[in-house]
């Protein structure tokens, strides 16, 4: 090819960036401009296929991208500038890493000639993000840009998903070369396993059918691996009880009679007791997190364990398992169902009936009961009403703390990808930007953000973004004037010394919402809860901030205290 021909088709790195995103089918980028990404912003401005959402803080950009990705089948994309832009994005990146959210985060970088010179707005982004990404890249040559972006999306979305950071120096976005986006990519060092091992599947089927007191325990992997349908078929076929982790809610329909509720520290009594007494545990897309297992020494003392996970390092990390199956949840579940059919054996009906009888006794404890006659608003009641009034069809985000647990306990998710929260990192402040991302993915859906007066203030600036893009979110602020979960632990374990857990000098949330151009409603009486939620839902075009003044003394029950086993729950 002659030089003239090649230079005539050459485009800048910034344009390559846009064209690559278009080729990936990216519809929306959450970001915030700055010096190092000005060429990219200029190129974004001059095209109309990829839209850009301007957040008010880079943390919000990454969380919004997470919310987007968690609620639909696409990776989230964020774009921030170098230096403080990148450091502000770290919390979101770490959050996505802990919860395996497919995310591609583009960070600007100072020009290659200045890297290492302590230039203005320079940080070692690749170095800082290394421990909290699935992978990261520094693009040093414009010729590598398109391939690197292809790799980034490939790595982020395959295997166990996760965040990938692509750091792009400013000169790379100005330099030109010919653009060709790779159709597909192969990396010799990265080949995630999809199908399970046939021999292991057979062993698992035999063990599953031999169970007298079986339990199915599934996590976020079922949601991420789009395995809900297969899981439901598998579980109904067996008639076994099932529990979901916090991240796994919606993976199995919560209104189904085989569902025992969430397990773990604030899970239901029946789910935790069934775990403790199980003889065969079938763990699918779950990682035996410490908030689930309680004291590991006391975890499932009688159970043989089958563990299905796409990430080999999740297997036997915390708990030694008997039949590991490495593979994607959906195909493995299909193979398990096939294996059950081929085996022809049936679960032990008599043993199963006895087991269900035992479970019903645990269920009779009614572990989620709370005072319905209180003159104060009970936070559980607010969530329950929101569930009823949205017919369980809303997308619900939460922040972190007591309200998160009540949302998980009382909003019963029948579908996957509807429950968006921060499980692994436990990041306060995610709720509002998560909800923004969800609303962009589902413009017509009802998106609720169940939050608390402490969490919501950690990314409150995003109310401005919501106004700019007219996002009609429903914010349910369970305002107990305390860092509720901290207060609860101080009540239980620090003799009521409430160090720094009281949120003094709170803003007037109604005025605050109004100042940002939204509707604010304060609710102080239990009798007004339902009406206020109805009012908020009726305002289809507006963001409504419902500030519920709730009972300050309410605690989350039941609870496995630190160091205890799953059979040692504190009940109400």
């Amino acid at each position: 090819m002659s030089e003239t021909a090649s230079s005539s088709t050459a485009i800048t790195g910034a344009e390559i960036f846009c064209r690559s995103l278009q080729a990936e089918g990216v519809e929306v980028v959450f970001g915030y401009p700055g010096g190092a990404v000005l060429h990219i912003y200029d190129a974004l401005y001059r095209q109309d296929k990829v839209s850009h959402v301007l957040v008010r803080h880079e943390q919000g950009a990454v969380h919004a991208a997470e919310g987007y990705a968690k609620s639909c089948d696409k990776p989230g994309v964020a774009l921030v500038t170098s230096g403080p832009g990148a450091t502000n994005a770290i919390t979101g990146i770490a959050d996505a890493y802990m919860d395996s959210v497919p995310l591609v985060v583009f960070t600007g970088q100072v020009p290659t000639s200045l890297i290492g010179n302590d230039a203005f707005q320079e940080v070692d982004t690749v170095g800082i993000t290394r421990p909290c990404v699935k992978h990261n890249f520094l693009v040093k040559d414009v010729k590598e840009l398109a391939t690197t972006i292809k790799k980034a999306f490939y790595v982020a979305t395959t295997g166990r998903p996760g965040p990938v950071v692509v750091d792009i120096p400013k000169d790379v976005t100005a330099d030109s070369c010919e653009f060709e986006y790779p159709e597909s990519i192969r990396m010799r060092s990265y080949n995630p396993t999809s199908k399970g091992h046939t021999g292991q599947i057979r062993k698992a089927v035999e063990l599953i059918l031999s169970a007298k007191q079986p339990m199915i325990y599934t996590g976020g992997g079922v949601i991420l691996g789009k395995g809900s349908e297969a899981l439901t078929e598998f579980t109904r076929k067996l008639g076994y009880p099932i529990t979901n982790t916090l991240m796994g809610l919606g993976g199995y329909p919560a209104s189904d009679k085989q569902f025992l509720g969430m397990l773990g520290m604030h899970g239901t009594y029946e789910a935790n007791m069934a775990m403790h007494h199980a003889d065969v545990l079938i763990a699918i897309g779950a990682r035996f997190d410490d908030r689930v297992t309680g004291n590991i020494e006391k975890f499932c003392p009688h159970a043989k364990i089958v563990h299905v996970d796409v990430d080999p390092s999740s297997i036997s990390k915390n708990v030694k398992v008997d039949v590991p199956i490495v593979g994607e949840v959906e195909p493995v579940l299909r193979e398990l169902i096939k294996g059950l059919n081929e085996n022809g054996g049936k679960p032990d009906a008599e043993a199963l009936a006895t087991w269900w009888k035992q479970i019903e006794e645990w269920q009779a404890q009614d572990c989620l009961k709370y005072d319905q006659s209180s003159e104060l608003i009970k936070p559980q009641y607010v969530v329950q009403k929101f569930w009823e009034l949205t017919q369980g069809e809303a997308f619900v985000t939460s922040d972190v703390g007591q309200h998160q647990m009540w949302a998980a306990q009382f909003y019963r998710f029948d579908k996957p990808n509807r429950w968006i929260n921060s499980g692994g990192l436990g990041t306060m402040g995610v709720g509002l930007p998560f909800a923004m991302g969800v609303q962009f993915a589902h413009p017509d859906a009802t998106v609720g953000c169940i939050t608390g007066e402490a969490s919501i203030q950690m990314c409150i600036q995003e109310l401005s973004t919501c106004f700019q893009y007219q996002l009609p979110l429903k914010i349910l602020n369970l305002n107990n004037r305390y860092l509720g979960m901290v207060r609860q632990w101080q009540e239980f374990f620090y003799q009521g010394r409430y160090a720094m857990s009281y949120m003094d000098a709170l803003p007037d949330f109604v005025k605050l919402a109004e100042a940002y151009g939204h509707v604010g409603i304060q609710v102080t009486q239990p009798g007004d809860v339902e009406g206020a939620i109805k009012e908020a839902l009726a305002q289809k075009e507006r963001l409504v901030f419902l500030d519920f003044i709730t009972d300050q003394s309410e605690n989350v029950y039941p609870m496995i205290p630190a160091g205890a086993g799953q059979n040692e729950m504190i009940l109400v």
Binding site: V126, G127, R130, P131, K134, H135, L138, V155, M187, R188, S189, Y190, D311, P312, S313, I315, S316, K317, K320
Partner: protein, 164 residues
């Protein structure tokens, strides 16, 4: 138990820090780590000596495999293998008698003197770590000025080999 793990990884900027970072982030022991490009310049080969229970070593190998830059690895401990380490030792030998004794010791350990000044020798010695330890022990009577150890390299015997 001590394990010696060989790793083939992409010879790319930052690959070493991914491995080093993994060990510090997850609190794994690291006794030594050596790395250099292979005959294929796009690949690096790393030898890591670590220790831990079977469960921990299993996690170490899984976590290493999970790193995107890691192509393949082999826990040598499971196979007959050869380990080698090199040391460069600078000793002060101002007296003729010392020089003779140091030379004799180097010969016994099949070391080579690769630098000579009027009062120092630099000895190059290769072998398993324990042999190097023994040599340094034997040099005790002399003032040892510097010791440089390469860390352990390993290769499996026979048909077992780590390649793409």
């Amino acid at each position: 138990m001590r394990h010696i793990i060989s790793v083939l990884l992409e010879n790319e900027a930052g690959a070493l820090s991914r491995v080093a970072g993994l060990f510090s982030a997850r609190g794994y022991n690291i006794e030594s780590l050596t790395v250099a490009p292979t005959d294929d310049p796009s690949l690096s080969r790393m030898t890591i000596v670590t220790s831990g229970s079977d469960e921990i070593v299993e996690q170490i190998t899984k976590q290493l495999n999970k790193l995107i830059d890691v192509i393949k690895l082999l826990d040598m401990t499971a196979y007959p293998h050869i380990e080698r380490e090199m040391a460069l030792v600078k000793v002060r030998v101002p007296e003729a008698a010392d020089r003779e004794e140091a030379k004799r010791l180097a010969d016994i350990f099949r070391g080579r003197i690769i630098d000579v000044t009027h009062d120092t020798y630099v000895v190059e010695i290769t072998g398993e770590g324990s042999k190097l330890d023994a040599f340094l022990e034997a040099l005790q009577p002399f003032p040892v000025l510097e010791v440089v150890r390469s860390g352990v390299m390993g290769i499996a015997r026979g048909d077992v080999s780590l390649q793409i």
